[in-house]
């Protein structure tokens, strides 16, 4: 009898190690260095990451391939870009497909740093990566808002960028949205009623049949995600997850992770000033104060660095964002007051 018990313990241990080993590429068994010394925080996060990966073992991740997510994302972005009548900052990029130096170019530079960090550092995910990489776009709008579509499309409003007072805060906004993409939150926003139907289609592999019923279903899937993104927002727990992810990503990429807390704090203060109009970002996210509390708890556990930045990251952000600062003076004055 006792012999059997040990067999079961061995089986359970092997199950756990198999899940971790296949998913993280044995990262759990490596050590990390941070500028020469062993970093206890990194180890803490590594264990957290392994737990999270096991938790994320659900149908959404398993049954939808990156290719499908790519096509869902394209349709969602197409819907956002043609349905919601946003003007685009540096719009000539969309006319020509060529990126010229300017705010969008600068945003791509920040985004690429985060992009590489997400793959090169221990935060790297369970083999999922958007097949077209990340793509960023600035919407020329006074609204404070940012959202992302599955497959790596990230949209930020120019108003939100005017609210950031340095590069790290802009990176925090992008990192949060990239978190939604890399944790594959988009597909979870498909409505419950449609989910079972969609799952059936996915399982049966009946595909090429482009029947009217199938088309309706797929259009429904796209509009569910689009609505969740633009109007309703993700579920509260997913926002917290994305915050936590963003904090880690900022830390590993070399940015100051406290910038995320600072951005949310600004939104909180902003919200106090504009309680009546719960527009844009305020309508799609949980109350900033709740996120601040959660994040503070997490930061305290993981070790909270001081909010000090190299001067160049402040200067070069202001240099690039000057036109935005000028355009949205109300936000930028606020941003500089509460930096």
């Amino acid at each position: 009898m006792r012999k059997n018990m040990w067999m079961y313990i061995a089986a359970i241990f092997l199950t756990a190690s198999a899940v971790v080993a296949t998913d993280t590429g044995c990262r759990t068994f490596t050590t990390y260095t941070m500028t020469g010394r062993v970093d206890p925080e990194a180890l803490f996060w590594d264990v957290q990451g392994a737990i999270k990966i096991v938790q994320a073992w659900n149908w959404a991740q398993k049954s939808i391939t990156p290719e499908e997510e790519y096509f869902i994302g394209r349709s969602v972005s197409a819907a956002v870009m043609s349905r919601y009548y946003y003007r685009f900052y540096n719009g000539q990029v969309l006319a020509t497909g060529q990126l010229t130096p300017g705010m969008l170019y600068y945003l791509y530079e920040i985004g690429s740093v985060l992009d590489y960090a997400a793959q090169d550092t221990p935060i790297a995910l369970d083999g999922f990566y958007p097949i077209a990489g990340f793509h960023f776009m600035i919407m020329d709008n006074a609204e404070i808002n940012a959202f992302s579509a599955p497959g790596g499309y990230v949209f930020v409003t120019s108003g939100f960028l005017a609210l950031a007072s340095n590069e790290d805060e802009a990176a925090a906004i992008l990192a949060h949205e990239m978190g939604h993409v890399l944790l594959r939150h988009g597909v979870r926003m498909i409505k419950k009623s449609r989910q079972s139907q969609f799952r059936k289609v996915v399982m049966q592999e009946t595909v090429e049949a482009v029947s009217p019923v199938g088309m309706d279903l797929l259009q429904g899937v796209v509009s569910d995600i689009t609505e969740a993104m633009v109007l309703a927002g993700y579920a509260r727990s997913l926002e917290y997850q994305a915050d936590e992810f963003a904090y880690k990503l900022l830390y590993y990429s070399g940015y100051n992770p406290v910038a995320l807390y600072k951005v949310i704090e600004k939104l909180h203060r902003m919200g106090l000033e504009h309680v009546a109009s719960r527009q844009g970002w305020f309508s799609t996210h949980p109350k900033p104060i709740d996120r601040m509390k959660k994040l503070w708890k997490y930061m305290s556990k993981a070790g909270r660095p001081k909010y000090r930045l190299p001067r160049i990251r402040m200067l070069r952000y202001r240099r690039h964002a000057r036109p935005l600062y000028h355009q949205y003076r109300r936000y930028s004055e606020f941003a500089l007051r509460y930096q």
């Binding site: 198999a18 990390y32 349709s75 090169d120 958007p130």
Partner: protein
């Protein structure tokens, strides 16, 4: 050996096999799945780029370090490519998943259910879906050197790198 013991032995054997199958066999051919990506000289995005490769490129798998695969390209060059950018199989993929010749069996294997280019074509006939902007957005890309210079100027350094 009673039934329970037998069951647990089977479970253990199955899981060991699952771990062994996680990586492709050395010498097997793998395929690039992302639209375009770089093959690097070291297993890191901060090393120098050996070549730019596109979706559908075939390469030989030589080994792995963490999330990176060591590969040999058809030109004979050897480099490292990130695991998330490849499929562990030999597939015939077109350079763009939406291309006209993309209805091959292999394309369908990857995006077989639900969404695929033909659905997109149907959707684009409607007013509410305009894919031209999305296509142009996808064209934008920065090269690795620009990003490295940007990091250097901004005093940015990746804080933790996996030690192999």
């Amino acid at each position: 050996m009673n039934r329970k013991t037998l069951l647990s032995v089977i479970i253990v054997a199955f899981l060991t096999a699952a771990v062994a199958w996680a990586a492709p066999r050395i010498g097997s051919v793998i395929t690039v799945r992302s639209l375009n990506t770089q093959v690097m000289s070291e297993p890191s995005f901060l090393s120098s780029s050996v070549a730019k490769v596109y979706r559908g490129t075939h390469m030989t798998y030589l080994g792995r370090k963490g999330a990176w695969y060591k590969v040999r390209m058809s030109s004979g060059k050897i480099g490292w490519i990130h695991r998330s950018r490849v499929v562990d199989k030999m597939l015939n993929l077109s350079r763009r998943p939406g291309a006209s010749d993309s209805s091959s069996k292999d394309e369908v294997e990857l995006a077989r259910r639900g969404f695929n280019p033909s659905i997109e074509q149907q959707m684009s006939r409607e007013k509410n879906y305009n894919y031209t902007y999305v296509d142009r957005m996808e064209k934008i890309q920065l090269d690795v050197k620009t990003v490295k210079d940007f990091m250097l100027q901004g005093k940015l350094r990746f804080r933790a790198v996996v030690r192999k």
